[in-house]
């Protein structure tokens, strides 16, 4: 991966072209700033609405200047059991992430190290699971959960999310382990290390970035999902995403309350992605090199 961090652009000609280069950089940066503004406006709107007093919310034409208030946040806590929603979201996304890693990391290792020609077939099978639209499995799964009595529980959502997440983790870890030279493990095995030790103590510590990236994507996927959760949870087990949708239209909810609630559902993930930016980028670009 070290190659990707290097600037592969050819070195620029010496100083006489320097001003031209500086102008070019300036043009590029101006374009980027404009694009950034296009991207930040809707996000900032979402944040700003949450602090808008109700009287300004539906004023037509829309007002740009208002006195910030925490009214919407108080209202959110009146209408919703925010902590319970947050708890559901956390349990569902962490539960699915942990389960996916437990299943996917060893499987990815096994597929990468296996000499069998079926290994690559199985690896592609995991990749193919990604293309399955959730609607094709959700209905039979819904009936299955109804029959075994898990409908309305966190487990139902965790189990479904884990299929897609586990397939993703397996493929991702397969590519990480495959790019890892076998020498270290072989050396450890010759020195009398067990097979388990070669996996757990030798190979695993070197792919920690891959594990972090996988975990990040699993959490993001489950946290952001609402289709699965909408049909498989009930009032007690529903996560934030479902509440956001339920809030919309059915109750006397303003955009301000919605914006306040959206704070809880978007900010944790946004911060996670910003702080773990390096791993986030690794996760997305894994297939490129």
């Amino acid at each position: 991966m070290s190659v990707t961090t290097l600037d592969s652009r050819p070195a620029r000609a010496p100083s006489r072209r320097r001003t031209a280069l500086q102008q070019r950089v300036l043009r590029e940066r101006t374009a980027l700033v404009i694009i950034l503004i296009i991207y930040m406006v809707p996000v900032l709107w979402l944040v700003a609405t949450a602090y808008k007093p109700p009287k300004d919310m539906f004023s037509s034409p829309p007002t740009f200047i208002f006195e910030p208030t925490l009214h919407n946040f108080r209202r959110v806590f009146e209408v919703f059991d925010v902590w319970s929603l947050l708890k559901s979201s956390i349990i569902i996304s962490l539960g699915s992430a942990v389960l996916s890693l437990l299943l996917g990391v060893p499987a990815g290792y096994a597929l990468a190290r296996s000499q069998s020609r079926y290994a690559i077939v199985i690896a592609y099978f995991f990749l193919a699971i990604r293309i399955v639209p959730i609607i094709a499995t959700l209905i039979p799964f819904y009936l299955m959960m109804r029959d075994i009595g898990l409908l309305g529980t966190w487990w139902a959502v965790i189990l479904v999310n884990t299929t897609l997440n586990c397939a993703f983790v397996t493929w991702m870890m397969f590519s990480y382990f495959r790019s890892l030279p076998k020498d270290m493990e072989e050396a450890a095995l010759t020195d009398g290390c067990t097979l388990w030790g070669a996996f757990w103590r030798v190979a695993l510590p070197t792919v920690i970035p891959g594990i972090i990236a996988s975990a990040l994507f699993c959490v993001m996927f489950s946290w952001n999902d609402f289709l699965v959760a909408m049909f498989l949870t009930n009032t007690d087990s529903k996560p934030l995403s479902v509440a956001l949708l339920a809030a919309f239209g059915t109750k006397d909810i303003t955009w301000g309350t919605l914006g306040a609630l959206a704070h809880f559902s978007t900010i944790p993930i946004m911060l996670m992605a910003l702080f773990l930016n390096r791993y986030f980028i690794q996760g997305v670009t894994r297939g490129v090199n």
């Binding site: 592969s8 437990l102 099978f125 479904v160 919309f248």
Partner: protein, 315 residues
């Protein structure tokens, strides 16, 4: 992570009769089995059940949920019924529009971000924020911004007579393009990120050689950069194609498939039929057709990649 060690404790570590290579095979097999078994039980099995249901007239709310075998009737209905055809066409149009624009804009953005500087790294980090926001919330944001009476964008668009006075989502001809626009807004940075990784892994010496040969920037891009970038381009296109074809969240929260089915997608249609009307047989057929379409497009892309690879190796 302790349950892994518990699960594999049964692996024979020092079983004397087994050769090392066999022990290793067994060990790797035991590591892979839980994930494979899990995916088969929770994804492949329901998938197979869905295929079976799709050949039945099966509605949970009618006739006590009894199943009647109808052969290909569900598929025939989907492909001949006006709503079903509309959903298929909409989904293809959405996918095509979104993927093409996301690719062109994403490539431009990637080229802008190519220079390795602190500024560009920070810009990239911020540009990736939309990718992390729930598609649900993105849909709601744009629904509010485009509202004609109080939305910051919608109000002025309608006021200045640029759009229908009832708003972009209310017009049958503007609703789908608006949804495509939202998708472009949310996912272009992701495409840019993938293409950027491709650009940064290009061999520097070839680029320098092109520069030394006096190629203009346009020539360099067309003759050197683009051919080398092709595998990454295909990867980005395939990933976005698969996700765009399954569009659900943004449509569900903005138009719900309306007005007059103008934005009904396969997923929206399938969810309505299956989980609101409990028309299990028909909804399963919708799901299976969706899988077939995606698989077909992915296969077409894979063939294109292979052909492009062969051509690149020949030259």
């Amino acid at each position: 992570m302790t349950s892994i060690s518990a699960g594999t404790a049964s692996v024979p570590r020092r079983r004397s009769g087994l050769r090392f290579t066999d022990r290793r095979k067994l060990f790797l097999f035991c590591l892979a089995v839980p994930a494979v078994a899990y995916v088969i039980a929770i994804a492949v099995y329901p998938l197979a059940q869905g295929i079976v249901y799709s050949f039945y007239d099966y509605n949970l709310l009618r006739r006590g949920g009894r199943m009647t075998f109808v052969g290909l009737e569900n598929y025939r209905e989907l492909l001949t019924d006006a709503t079903g055809q509309r959903a298929l066409i909409n989904t293809f149009a959405f996918t095509f529009g979104a993927v093409v624009f996301e690719f062109v804009l994403g490539l431009g953005l990637a080229l802008l971000l190519w220079r390795d500087s602190r500024f560009n790294r920070i810009a990239l980090a911020f540009l990736l924020i939309p990718v992390t926001i729930t598609p649900l919330v993105v849909g709601l944001i744009f629904r509010a911004l485009l509202a004609v009476d109080y939305g910051y964008i919608g109000y002025y668009l309608a006021e200045w007579g640029i759009t229908d006075p009832r708003g972009l989502f209310a017009g049958t001809s503007t609703a789908l393009p608006t949804l495509i626009f939202i998708d472009i807004w949310e996912w272009t940075p992701l495409v840019a990120l993938i293409l950027l990784a491709g650009l940064k892994s290009l061999p520097g010496d070839i680029l320098e050689a092109a520069l030394a040969d006096g190629a203009t920037p346009a020539q360099r891009f067309r003759l050197v950069i683009l051919p080398l970038l092709l595998p990454t381009v295909f990867l980005a296109l395939v990933l976005r194609m698969m996700d765009a074809f399954r569009v659900f969240d943004s449509i569900f929260v903005t138009t719900g498939g309306g007005p007059a089915d103008a934005t009904n997608s396969m997923m929206v249609y399938g969810v309505k039929q299956g989980l609101q009307f409990f028309n299990i047989g028909y909804a399963s057929a919708i799901g299976n057709v969706t899988i077939l379409c995606i698989a077909f497009m992915a296969a077409a892309f894979a063939l294109l990649i292979r052909r492009a690879d062969v051509r690149a190796n020949e030259t």
